[in-house]
Symmetry: C2
Subunit: 100 residues, 2 copies
Amino acid sequence: MAYGYIGTMRTVQDHRDEVVRILLSGTQGLRAAGCLLYVVSVSDSDSELIHVTEVWQSREHHDASLRLPETQAAIAQAMPLLTGEFTREELTVVGGLGLA
Amino acid sequence: MAYGYIGTMRTVQDHRDEVVRILLSGTQGLRAAGCLLYVVSVSDSDSELIHVTEVWQSREHHDASLRLPETQAAIAQAMPLLTGEFTREELTVVGGLGLA
């Protein structure tokens, strides 16, 4: 079964849109790296909170993607705009509707 | 932008697989009801926890789907196997990879 990763990150005030743009700019190479789903959402109740929902063929595919140049570039760009508060949950994706 | 819903539900002991099956059995009508993504996952660290990640065209589409016969049937089947502990987060989905 596929590997799921649900995470949140908190941005510094008034920089959420900018971080969302950065996250979405680095997705071109993800499908080739084994990514089935990479969704960026924003909380409706917390103006500095970003949710990222990911599904990968395996945890190894996910971990390897962190070494992709575009991923490294996006991380470097986003970090100064983040508070350092992250949450993460690793899941086993059983199935559903809409996954590639 | 699309409506995102991230939720968890806790099952009674040893019934998680059964509830997962019930949740996945009721997905046929969801795409026609405006569902873009409906993913059922299980926690790797908590043997009674199920995660559901949903993306809908709008909140209204999501809420209306709760009145679908197959959704009502799935809820009725699952409820006795759940402890009643739910979490939910409503999100605005900005974009990403893999959404229909």
